[in-house]
């Protein structure tokens, strides 16, 4: 009788652990509409802020051009949705100086953007000051 009870308790514990595992995995994937894939390995992946790994794996920079306008920098890049599903997200271009300091990061707003599956969207930005040398596009849901 005691042995039967311990078997039942053991089985229930295993079942509970399995349910917990499935539920937890479900929570991670449901918020990101897809499975976690490889990080973008394209030529321009260094220009994407990778803090949001789920979003940065879905989006990539297809092409990029940077030029000088006087002593300011101007960049144009094409953001590409690598998935077949629509992505709703926000982006913000942040400029950095030669020492890696962000230049007025609060002066540029988050821009809402909806990209349909496999869609591409050009984005142009001009640096706020002459000290800018590079930029990053920050992404968030």
């Amino acid at each position: 009788m005691v042995r039967e009870s311990s078997v039942i308790v053991g089985t229930l514990t295993c079942l509970l652990l399995w349910v917990l595992l499935v539920t937890t995995t479900g929570c991670i994937t449901s918020g990101t509409t897809g499975t976690l894939e490889e990080s973008p390995s394209g030529e321009f992946s260094e220009y994407i802020d990778a803090s949001n790994i789920f979003l940065s794996s879905k989006l990539s920079i297809e092409s990029m051009a940077m030029r000088d306008v006087g002593d300011l920098k101007q960049v144009q890049f094409v953001l590409h949705n690598r998935r077949h599903t629509t992505q709703d997200f926000e982006y913000k271009v942040v400029w950095y100086d030669g020492d890696g300091f962000a230049i007025d990061p609060d002066s540029r707003p988050w821009n809402p953007l909806t990209m349909r599956g496999k869609d591409s969207h050009p984005i142009t930005a001009t640096s706020p000051r002459a000290s800018a040398t590079t930029f990053k596009v920050h992404l968030k849901k």
């Binding site: 306008v69 006087g70 002593d71 300011l72 101007q74 629509t86 926000e90 913000k92 007025d104 609060d106 002066s107 540029r108 707003p109 988050w110 821009n111 809402p112 142009t124 930005a125 001009t126 706020p128 000051r129 002459a130």
Partner: protein, 185 residues
């Protein structure tokens, strides 16, 4: 106890540059997106780049005309734009809104008898503006029983005051739709 917990409200600090979509009305995100687009466009326009390459011309901002049916603080839009332009180091500004305060201070310095006359500000030494920044904000609103569609158009212009020539002009369009959500969007 539950009643007390249920009524308790909390205050949270949020990113002021974050997307705000509380309502379809003109909001902070619209203001910031307009200012970003306009300043980027102005500072990268080739003739403006040429003019500001060696010197910092003086401009003044005329209030933006609100041609929408909403109450919108357009001075806030011009404040954000002029702040960004000023911080770029490309232009300098004269503040026409404070001319009366400056005049009163000059009069006080000259006539009150309280100020050492060797330290009073010299008259007729202010620098005249070379450019004027002005524009307007308009909107088109369409409604059905289940949907509201708002289109905003912000136009900004830079005029060379002496010649009257329009040196630069650009627009920013924003369209917002509010309605019942549909499946499979």
């Amino acid at each position: 106890m539950w009643g007390l917990v249920g009524c308790a409200s909390t205050t949270q600090y949020k990113d002021p540059t974050g997307v705000e979509n509380t309502s379809i009305d003109f909001g902070s995100t619209d203001l910031q997106m307009i200012a970003e687009k306009m300043v980027d466009s102005l500072l990268s326009f080739p003739p403006v780049v040429q003019v500001t390459a060696q010197r910092r011309p003086v401009m003044f901002v005329e209030r933006i005309k609100n041609k929408t049916s909403e109450h919108i603080d357009t001075e806030s839009i011009t404040d954000t734009i002029s702040t960004k332009i000023l911080r770029s180091g490309k232009f300098r500004f004269v503040d026409m809104d404070r001319i009366n305060a400056v005049r009163e201070q000059a009069q006080f310095q000259k006539e009150s008898g309280m100020v050492n006359q060797e330290t009073t500000m010299a008259m007729g030494r202010q620098i005249g503006a070379e450019y004027m920044l002005y524009g307007n904000l308009s909107s088109i609103v369409k409604r059905t029983s289940s949907k509201k569609d708002v289109y905003y158009k912000f136009t900004l212009k830079l005029m060379h005051l002496e010649s009257g020539i329009l040196e630069w002009q650009d627009e920013k369009e924003i369209r917002k739709v509010k309605g019942r959500s549909t499946f499979g969007r």
